[in-house]
């Protein structure tokens, strides 16, 4: 085992605080936007903002950015499974007529 392989380099305090500020700002944005009636795209906006926030947490707080590539591939596999399941679920529900 090589030392430099397991001992990844690390983030400093600064970037964490920046990300935290970003996350708080995005929370503010999502609450403000929710107050405006955007109709059908309200839910899309909320989910998009939540996704950006999760992306920040995953890459910085959870170190995915400096982690080995295989971890990022794993995450893609897991998310793919989750998303395709929802898509297929709606392949049924969005075409039901009695709702």
């Amino acid at each position: 085992m090589h030392k430099d392989e397991t001992h990844q380099h690390m983030h400093g305090y600064g970037i964490y605080i920046l990300v935290w500020l970003g996350l708080l700002t995005l929370t503010g944005v999502t609450v403000t936007v929710a107050g405006i009636n955007l109709g059908a795209i309200t839910i899309a906006t909320a989910l998009n903002i939540a996704s950006v926030k999760s992306y920040l947490v995953l890459t910085i707080f959870m170190h995915l950015r400096i982690e080995q590539k295989v971890f990022r591939i794993f995450l893609v596999v897991a998310l793919f499974f989750f998303i395709i399941s929802i898509v297929l679920l709606f392949a049924d529900y969005s075409f039901l007529e009695n709702y």
Partner: protein, 552 residues
């Protein structure tokens, strides 16, 4: 798989895993061991006990159905017995069968590692397995009796049934977590602990199938975990989730249930396919035909198998588009399965076939799995499914796949690896006799179900019309033949543990994978030196003679 690093142990022989006891002695040295081989044996013993219980329940069901009307039990008991038969066979035998027993024992050896990545979590998964199993079985003795919902726990009945459904739900939840921990361990082990030189395409094919299975275990199992938990919460607190009286949608329960339970079918069959991929080249003395195709078809099955769940629900009130999409995906999953079958037969072609007992069971697997797989396509066809849905045709189909496929795969693995695991040889003739009893009994038991299902016999019914009597009668006779075969097979194996010929040969079948390059039985740490891999797993040399003849 030549390697300079593995030398036959000289005078200072390392203690085998059977002798090395670690901290305690006797039983304690087993139930506290984190050695993957000992955990594999623990799983084997507990699994076979559960299997025996499942077989007894199956036998009683068949006996009840030998004639119309009441024969030996009342309808309520019958409902509870088929539920337990399903729960035990699915969650306690077929799902953990190959990964937890043979995967645990051989996965680290096959990739040249000393253990799995998380040995203690491995032991924890066994404890979860045993506790879950006991909880499921012991719920019979509690007032109210065991669940009578079928192993699918469909709502709304599972929310309203007065029996101890909650215990069975929790049992399934625990067994699910046991399965997740095994999967998590295997993915990490395969990624991190392969021997130097063992690239992905030098891995034995059983590792590919265990790896694909492990991913499905990790990603799909939690969904049934939460679904069953939600049913329990609905039973306890009356939270409105699935019950239509509270606005819930029972069809959505079925969706969530099958999002796991269909991929679970591939958790069951994929490892068995891996075992067959190991056995065929060894007994045909040929390099496997189409290594990469078989490897990728394992991944393909895991992928497509996760996307076809709603074909269990074509008649449950889905939208037309939904039915259409899931029907197409169902047909797609047949392709990688067929690739495997064609490659196995192509490997046998022009091989110098040695008809050892493991090959008997492997060939039985191919034959029965093909029937099971092809009848699966009938049900994937929307129009045909309306005729056969919820009939005994479906029962026959999944028994051909799960028992004829995975069950025979487990038996094949037992006969293939038994000599390596216990350093004893069983009676090969008795093993072959047992095979023929099993094979004939199996077809006599389940083939009539295809016919009566086609004619309209519903599944899970306690009683039936006189016109179905002959099929039920033949089927019950078949169950007796099958059980005779099981008794012969297990008597032979268990007797051999004490009385079988002692083996010292490393490689009795003439295999090329790594487990045949370590002493028999494997030492505590598997390898004295971790081997360096330079060749693929099935490179047969013409001048190497198997040591099989010496054993006979």
């Amino acid at each position: 798989m030549a390697s300079d690093a593995i030398a036959v142990n000289g005078n200072e022989k390392e203690p085998s895993y059977l002798e090395y006891t670690g901290k305690g002695r006797g039983l304690k040295s087993w139930i506290t061991s984190t050695d993957h081989k000992r955990i594999g044996i623990l799983y084997l013993c507990s699994l076979l006990l559960f299997f025996a219980v499942g077989v007894v329940f199956g036998f009683l069901m068949r006996l009840e159905l030998i004639a119309p009307g009441r024969t030996i039990m009342d309808p309520q008991t019958y409902n509870q017995i088929f539920t337990l038969h399903g729960v035990i066979m699915i969650f306690l035998f077929v799902i953990p069968g190959i990964p937890a027993v043979f995967g645990n024992f051989f996965l680290p050896i096959l990739i040249g590692a000393k253990d799995v990545a998380f040995p203690r979590i491995n032991l924890l998964s066994w404890y979860l397995f045993v506790s879950g199993g006991l909880l499921a079985i012991l719920s019979i003795t509690l007032p109210g009796g065991s669940a009578d919902t079928g192993w699918t726990f469909y709502v709304p009945y599972s929310v309203r049934s007065g029996t101890n459904v909650t215990y069975t739900l929790f049992a399934a939840f625990m067994l699910g977590f046991s399965s997740i921990l095994t999967g998590l361990n295997f993915v990490t082990t395969v990624h991190r602990m392969r021997a130097p030189g063992m690239s992905w395409f030098k891995m034995p094919l059983s590792i590919w199938s265990l790896y694909a299975t492990a991913w499905v275990q990790v990603l799909a199992t939690p969904i049934i975990g939460i679904t069953l938990l939600l049913v329990a919460v609905e039973r306890w607190f009356g939270v409105g989730l699935f019950d239509p009286a509270l606005g819930g949608d029972p069809v959505l329960y079925q969706h969530l249930f099958w999002i796991y339970s269909h991929p679970a079918v591939y958790i069951m069959i994929l490892p068995a396919m891996g075992v067959v991929s190991e056995i065929i080249p060894v007994f045909a003395r040929r390099t496997i035909f189409g290594y990469k195709f078989i490897a990728f078809s394992s991944i393909g099955i895991a992928l497509f198998g996760s996307l076809v769940w709603a074909h269990h629900m074509f008649t449950a009130g889905m939208s037309d588009t939904g039915q259409f999409v899931f029907s197409i995906l169902t047909f797609l999953v047949a392709i990688p399965s067929a690739i495997k079958v064609f490659n196995w037969t192509a490997t046998l072609y022009k091989g110098s076939i040695e008809l050892g007992p493991p090959l008997y069971y492997a060939l039985g697997f191919i034959f029965l799995f093909s029937i099971g797989g092809l009848t699966g396509l009938f049900q994937g066809t929307l129009a045909v499914d309306i005729q056969v849905h919820d009939t005994s045709f479906v029962v026959a189909h999944f028994h051909y796949v799960m028992f004829g496929g995975t069950g025979f795969g487990i038996f094949a693995a037992m006969h293939y690896w038994f000599p390596k695991m216990f350093a004893r040889m069983y009676n090969q003739k008795a093993a072959k006799v047992a095979f023929w009893f099993l094979f004939v009994g199996f077809n006599t038991l389940y083939f009539p179900m295809f016919i009566m299902g086609w004619l309209g016999m519903p599944r899970r019914y306690y009683d039936y019309l006189p016109e179905f009597h002959i099929y039920h009668f033949i089927s019950t006779i078949g169950s007796w033949i099958l059980i005779t075969g099981l008794i012969i097979m297990f008597t032979n194996l268990i007797r051999s543990l004490r009385k079988g010929k002692i083996l010292t040969e490393q490689n009795i079948w003439g295999g090329e994978t790594l487990e045949w390059r370590v002493p028999t039985p494997p030492p505590h740490e598997n390898f004295e030196h971790i081997p360096t891999i330079t060749e693929g797993p099935y490179e047969y040399k013409q001048n190497e003679e198997p040591q099989l003849e010496e054993v006979k």
